[in-house]
Symmetry: C2
Subunit: 361 residues, 2 copies
């Protein structure tokens, strides 16, 4: 497939829809605002690349002062190592011989590589595969997020001891992906575990907290040494609901075209679940169309969005009209497109490959 | 990224998760069952390639007797034209100069190409771009599906007349994507419109009906000349609920690994929304794990599935265990992976590129 990507200097009206477009000024402002906040509070900042999957954007984050990057998968880390990043945290329990072998190659290439573990099975696998440079391992802690992670400070301490005793591994600290609004629970868990680790004679240099929804509350966890966040770089409707950004901070829009106006109060757009994804994240519809206040994207199929115009207060759009959509969730959109179009005030500035798209393991 | 795809002859336990795997025997049986049904009822069958996006699978469908293929986007049709398919229906309102120019190139390459239109705007665009061979156009009719399509037989007839009068275009019939269970509404719409077209002196050779949920009720629309369906080739949980397939007809599973067992009743798998998508389609959870009856995939993030084991009646899985998941919706999974692994009885038979993945326009 030979896609006609727009030329630098072209207007966004030239972009073939559906296509995400990134506002350069908002992107830069989002990066600066988060970094300034972290700097003001003396917290290291480690952006999660899952939101953009683009090395050039991560370079902007590091240039602004980020102290390394966060990946979720070994293959993502490989893409960013290839692009020269030398401080990478993979916040995932890595299992299986092929993945572990690739991880150890990466550990020898990357100056500072860290992974996480929440079970003795993961620790045993990491240790058995370790060779060359010792691998730094953080204990993943469930501080209320309800996903992975050891459940108690006692369990965290026991697993830290297992890591410290495992050949080829180095216990390097704690990591958590907290519940929204969970600062006090994170602080209590970290503080309790750090005290137990001290008693056990173990150093705990890294305490890594995370999440965009509470990014600007990161200072409420004084025991953390760093904060990880991904979505803040583009922001989305879910982050606006969480209060971590406003309408003018949305750096990603999905450009779409009205392809049908079958009834007086229905429009159909060419941005379906293959462009917006079906992530609802608790919303009742699939995104916001700023130019059509009151319009609701009520259903998606792969290639169509059905828009209910019943409560729309703007002039109703005609077939062929290009519209911008604020998606519910930007991170999942990035995994659907081979390239992203960047612009400033509607003029294309660059078209970048989404280098880590499809890095599934 | 250099993915270690499994070798032909390897067991599925060698596959790096998360990864969709396709059961060759079930795939072949699904293709044969649908074609046999269409043959028995004298209906032409036009498989929709959106579900697999793989030319080799479409070749199996055509070899079984399918009378051409159905695509949704121009770029999908280009991929399949490159693979030699010469009878393609694009069921989309195609707008915009770049897309229209590419469509006309395709029209000259492909022996029988058809598109649809539901508005005079679409018809005017098609006509203005037409050159060389006349483009065959079907009127898209909304027979209750509530997406695109003209709303009445009168409107369908008027648009057919506009197509017939437009330079470079040829009115070739009607197309609908109906509501589930909508056979009688489709038949009434087609019959009414065909009568009006006869009065207007227009031939209507093609009446294209569609959908997997009602695939085996296609004979209840005697006025249709062909039926389109995509999902039947792999099937999924939504098709099982619709009654169009059973448990033994699921040709796609997502292989996943248990990466964490943080509590006695919680397991976390490495198949998140980047593997399963967040399509709920009315279900309360994100797929079925046949080996863990009663287990429920209660939430997804991009790289994790959280499984509630409270009501699981099987032995609970350990960290490292590989599981198979029946997804809610297979079509959307195919767009997330660069290749698909095929197998027979758990032994890899072939690994095929998903050639039309990412064909967004």
């Amino acid at each position: 497939m030979d896609f006609p990507w727009p030329a630098v200097g072209a207007p966004l009206s030239d972009v073939i829809t559906p296509m995400p477009v990134i506002d350069e000024d908002r992107l830069a402002a989002n990066i600066a605002r988060a970094q300034d906040y972290m700097d003001a509070h003396g917290l290291a900042f480690r952006p999660h690349i899952k939101t953009h999957k683009i090395p050039q954007v991560a370079q902007q984050q590091v240039a602004a002062g980020a102290g390394g990057i966060n990946c979720q998968k070994v293959t993502e880390a490989e893409v960013f190592a290839d692009a020269g990043f030398d401080d990478i945290l993979i916040t995932y329990n890595i299992l299986g011989p092929v993945r572990l072998a690739r991880l150890m190659v990466l550990n020898d290439r990357v100056k500072t590589l860290r992974v996480v573990a929440d079970s003795t099975v993961t620790v045993a696998g990491l240790s058995a595969a370790a060779q060359g440079k010792r691998l730094r391992v953080l204990v993943e802690c469930d501080t209320g997020g309800g996903r992975c992670g050891v459940q108690t400070a006692e369990a965290a301490t026991a697993l830290a001891q297992a890591i410290a005793a495992a050949p080829g591994l180095q216990f390097d600290g704690l990591m958590t992906y907290p519940a929204i609004g969970g600062a006090s629970a994170v602080e209590a868990f970290l503080r309790d575990t750090m005290a137990r680790l001290t008693t056990a004679g173990l150093d705990c240099p890294v305490r890594s907290n995370g999440g965009t929804p509470d990014l600007f509350a990161a200072h409420l966890v004084p025991s953390a040494t760093e904060h990880r966040a991904g979505t803040y770089v583009y922001n989305d409707r879910a982050m606006m609901r969480a209060g971590s950004c406003g309408t003018d901070d949305m750096a990603m829009h999905i450009l779409a075209t009205v392809v049908s106006r079958p009834t007086a109060l229905r429009a159909v757009l060419d941005a379906g679940s293959k462009a917006l994804t079906s992530d609802l994240l608790g919303f009742a519809d699939y995104g916001i169309i700023p130019a059509l206040p009151g319009a609701r994207i009520v259903s998606l199929s792969e290639e169509h969005a059905v828009v209910d115009l019943t409560d729309c207060t703007a002039l109703l759009p005609q077939v062929g009209t290009q519209l911008r959509i604020v998606p519910n969730h930007t991170c999942v959109v990035s995994n659907l497109f081979d390239r992203m179009v960047f612009h400033r005030d509607g003029i294309v500035t660059r078209v970048l490959p989404v280098a880590a798209r499809g890095a599934v393991w």
